[in-house]
Structures are given as C-alpha cells and as structure tokens.
C-alpha cells in the first residue's frame, strides 16, 4: 500500500519480519534509530554536566552521604529484568503471538512502574528527609536532572506502551502495530543502556570517590 507513495525500490522486503514489510515501517524504524543516536548525545551532555558538577557540593551532602547501594541495586535489577521481558515480547511479536506479546509487554511496564516507584521514593527521601533538593547544590542539580530525565523517559515509555497495548488489543498484530511494538522495545532497551551508565557513573563512582 504505502509502497506506492514512498517506494523503497529494489529491496526485497517480503522476507523481513512483519514490522519491516511496509515501506513506512522501514522508514520509521530507521528514523527511530537515528532518534536514539541523538538521545545518546542528549544523555551524553547530561552525563558530562553531572560529572563536572559532581564534586560541587557547596557544603551540602555528597554522593557518599546520600547513596545507598541497596535500593540502587534493586532499581538496577528490576530494570535489567524489564529489558529481558521486553526482549521476550519482541520474540513473541516475531512469532505473531498476540497474547504472548501483550503479556510480556505488560510485565515490562509493570516492572517499569516498580522502578519509577523506587526512584520516586529515592528522590523523595533525598529532597525531603535528607534536606537535599535540587536547589541545594550544583551536584544535586546535576543528579536530579540526569536521573529525572531518565525517569521521565521511562514514564513516557510506559504511557506509550499502554497506548500500543490498546492498539494491539483492538487491531491485533498488523504491520503498523508490529512496527510500534518493535520501536517501543528499542526504546526500552535504550533506556536500560542509559541506566547502566547511570549505575556506573553516578552511583558506583559516587560510592568510590
């Protein structure tokens, strides 16, 4: 159908997974990769900022004072698990198994919700109980904005996946819904990659120095 408008000439797409079979799907997925590459720079900028400001605590609490490894490990493992379940959902997508797809995606967003809950709790503890809100010092500004941006991305991802679940429920696995589900998966894995760096550059580093 879309092939008439935007034709991807001379490329045989019939052998590809469903999400690539329309030209639109192919274009969107490629564009989404480019978007993710741009996000890489966006997060890179935030990391650079955080690392520069890390020691600018202005007499307020330092990373060592605040961070606790327990909750951080919990968040990390939950996010890693969700990346795994998200991977499983993509496999179900490739098997054209709507039930499996919806099931694993639901598990993924549930894990995501738990993650957001833990993170919100961590933020709340710092800002309210420890007297360390973002306006306390440059270090805390960097911390809250880097992690907040990641958290906002995860939250947006949850909303997005819920939207896709609704569409999947209504329309089943079509080239369009398959594409959307696949892209949401990419996004989710990407956020996991970002978290790996947060875990390393923020938490572990903060505990070491």
């Amino acid at each position: 159908m879309t092939n008439a408008t935007l034709s991807l000439h001379e490329k045989d797409q019939s052998k590809m997974p469903l999400e690539y079979t329309t030209e639109e799907g192919d274009l969107r997925i490629f564009g989404f990769w480019i978007f993710l590459a741009a996000e890489l720079v966006l997060f890179g900028t935030l990391f650079g900022t955080y690392l520069v400001l890390q020691s600018h605590t202005a007499g307020g609490p330092t990373a060592k004072d605040l961070f606790e490894i327990g909750p951080v490990m919990a968040e990390t493992i939950i996010l890693l698990m969700s990346s795994f379940t998200c991977g499983l959902s993509t496999i179900e997508l490739r098997r054209h198994n709507k039930k499996g797809l919806i099931g694993w995606m639901s598990v993924t967003i549930l894990l995501g919700l738990v993650f957001i809950g833990l993170e919100a709790n961590e933020f709340y503890t710092y800002a309210v109980h420890e007297g360390a809100p973002l306006s306390r010092s440059a270090f805390l500004s960097g911390f809250f904005v880097l992690l907040g941006t990641h958290g906002a991305h995860v939250s947006l991802g949850i909303v997005w996946i819920i939207g896709i679940l609704l569409q999947l429920g209504k329309r089943g696995i079509t080239p369009v819904t398959a594409r959307k589900a696949f892209m949401a998966g990419l996004y989710w894995h990407f956020l996991d990659v970002v978290w790996i760096f947060i875990f390393t550059a923020v938490y572990l580093t903060g505990l070491v120095i």
């Binding site: 890489l40 890179g44 490990m73 390393t200």
Partner: protein, 105 residues
C-alpha cells in the same frame, strides 16, 4: 541476506530465546562484578573507574547486539553508522567537557 534468513527463522520461530537469556545473565553478572570491584575491592580510584566504565560499555554493547537487533533492517549499515556517530559525539562531549573543566574524579 544471511541476517534476513536468521530473522525469518526467528519469526517462524520455535526455539528457546537463547539470546535474551544469555543477555540477561551477562548483564546481571557484569553489574554485580562492577559492584564488587567498586565496593568490595579497594583498588586505586583510577583503576576502579577504568574497569567499571569498561564493564558498562561492554554491557551496553550486549544490549545493543543481543536485545536491540541493531543489525536488522533493510540497510542496517545506515543505523550502525548513525549509532557510531552518536557514540563519537557523546564521547566528544563527555571526554571534552571533562578535559576542559578538568577534574580529579
């Protein structure tokens, strides 16, 4: 086309999700390894930092290749170049910023 064949078989797909399971196990292992190196050992700070950052990069590549299907698509080379360029620029800004506003991490 080789890759596409693989994708086909995955799509028809029976079989155990090996890629995913291996990815998960590796990720978990690397995470705990990094934690142990950072908190458990008391190596000199620069050594620790080098190792844990190295582990993080390794883990990122695991996600990229095992979970994210970066080698799929009609012309995967385009998205690979895109991601590489992104890595180049991200590295420039993180490394450059740290170098310019130099830091004893």
């Amino acid at each position: 086309m080789d890759e596409n064949q693989k994708q086909m078989s995955e799509r028809m797909g029976a079989g155990f999700p090996w890629k995913q399971v291996i990815g998960l196990l590796l990720s978990l292992a690397l995470t705990f390894l990094a934690l142990w190196i950072a908190v458990g050992l008391s190596l000199p700070v620069p050594v620790t930092l080098t190792i844990i950052v190295g582990l993080a990069i390794f883990q990122a590549f695991i996600q990229l290749f095992l979970f994210m299907h970066v080698t799929e698509g009609t012309e995967p080379v385009h998205q690979l170049i895109g991601i590489l360029f992104g890595i180049y620029v991200a590295f420039a800004i993180v490394g450059g910023t740290l170098w310019i506003l130099a830091y004893a991490l």
